[in-house]
Structure formats: structure tokens, C-alpha cells
């Protein structure tokens, strides 16, 4: 991806809400690693926020437990449009090591639509950053689509 195109996407900040639906915290630690000085995502305006109502992107970790299912749905619905969902870690994608557990409803895409999958156990910070970038590109396209629709 060339520099000009990247600059276009970095015009406005990307606010991310992190939701743990039953993760072992392995992926959550790797997300935090993305914010530490080694990677320092905040210099690009990517920051974690405390409410989905302020977020552009949902970053979901872990398989969905039965108790979390309706909360995941509610958090997704509370996020303003346009929004993108990233699943971090193999547990949220397929159940991972918890596959077929009695306590799980299943993968995240059974509950809410998912835009980007970042596999790994846990996913590496580089992979998470790449996933966020993919979600950002998708989000900008959605925004452009919404703007074009409003212009008509």
C-alpha cells in the first residue's frame, strides 16, 4: 500500500472498543502490547475507548459464552454506524481450544457480523495491527459509500 493511500486513511482517528466475550486474556494482553512503546498505535490516533458508543471498531476476543451472547449483541447494536468488527484470536473464530465446550455458544460470527479475522493463540501484535488497518480501510469505504448516498 503506498504512502499517499495510507495518509488518506489516517486523516481521522480510529477509536476502538475492546470486548472480551470469554477470552483467557492471552489476546487481550497482545492488544495492550500494541499500545506499548514498542508498537505505539496511539501515535496514529488508534486508541481504546471505554464505551462502544464512542467507537468506530469493535475488537472482540474469546469464544462467546452463553451469558455473554446477548451482551455482545447489545454492545454491537450500541456502536454507531458505520462500524467494523475485528475478531482477535482463534477462540473467537472457531472456539479454539474451547471448541465444543458445554459452556459456549460458539464463534463470534454466530452472534454478530464480523469484518476481519485475526487468527492466532494468541494473535501477535503485528497481526492485530494489520487487522485494525484492514478494518480501517473497510470502514473508510463504508464512510465514502454513506457520503455518496447522502449526496444523492
Amino acid at each position: 500500500m503506498d504512502k499517499v493511500k495510507l495518509n488518506k486513511y489516517f486523516e481521522r482517528s480510529l477509536w476502538v472498543f475492546h470486548l472480551n466475550t470469554g477470552s483467557c486474556n492471552g489476546c487481550d494482553i497482545e492488544i495492550v502490547a500494541g499500545l506499548t512503546p514498542r508498537y505505539d498505535l496511539e501515535r496514529f490516533g488508534i486508541k481504546l475507548v471505554g464505551s462502544p458508543r464512542h467507537a468506530d471498531v469493535l475488537l472482540v476476543t474469546g469464544p462467546v459464552t452463553h451469558k455473554m451472547a446477548d451482551r455482545v449483541k447489545r454492545v454491537y447494536e450500541q456502536t454507531p454506524d458505520p462500524k467494523a468488527v475485528i475478531v482477535v484470536g482463534v477462540c473467537g473464530i472457531s472456539g479454539g481450544v474451547f471448541y465444543d465446550s458445554y459452556n459456549l455458544l460458539g464463534s463470534i460470527d454466530k452472534i454478530i457480523p464480523v469484518d476481519v479475522y485475526v487468527p492466532g493463540c494468541p494473535a501477535r501484535p503485528e497481526a492485530i495491527i494489520n487487522g485494525v488497518l484492514q478494518a480501517w480501510i473497510k470502514l473508510e469505504k463504508l464512510r465514502e459509500g454513506m457520503k455518496a448516498a447522502q449526496a444523492k
Binding site: 458508543r53 451482551r71 454506524d81
Partner: protein
Amino acid sequence: MLGLLETGSGFWSAIIWVIVVLVIGGIVYYIRNKGEKSYKKNTEQDKPFISGNPELSKEGSHISASHIFWGFTEALKDYYAPLVKTHTGNINDYASWIVILMVIILIIVGVNG
């Protein structure tokens, strides 16, 4: 009525007060107008975020500001509920508890002694 009122330690002017209200109101309106507009009315986007939990009714979620032990009593309500029931406010009940506990203690002491 709209004139300047000197109080000795300051002054009061209704016109200045109205101007200040208008200026502050204008600033508040401007900041509010810059906020996110895309929230859809009458959907979940319009409701407060309570860690993903559903919003309780106003009656169900009312906690007075003075109730600083609310979290404590809520967490231990299974323990407190039977204790509250035993506090009837009737002195005969309390005296009965003393007699009953005294009998139990004397039986234990008598058996072990």
C-alpha cells in the same frame, strides 16, 4: 429594574447576567452540535452503555446518593435478608432469642462439662 445594583462588596446587573447566560448557552450549544449525530433514535444506540447489560427501569435502578453501602448490602443480600427478618422490633422476640441461646449454651456446657 435593569439598572446597576451596588452592594458594597460588588455589583449586580441583570443585563450582564442575561449576556453571560446567552454567551455560555451559545458555547454549550456549539459544543453539543459538534457531537456524534449518527445515533439512531429509539434503538440501542440511543441508550446508555452499562457494560452490555440491559437498562433497568428508573424505579429499579434508583439508588440515592446517600446510600454509600448499596454495593455492600446488594452483594451480601442473601446474608442480610434473614437477619433483617429476625429484627422484628418486638422486645419479646429479642428476649426469646436470649433465652433460647442461653439454653443452647447451657446444654453445650452441661454436655461437655
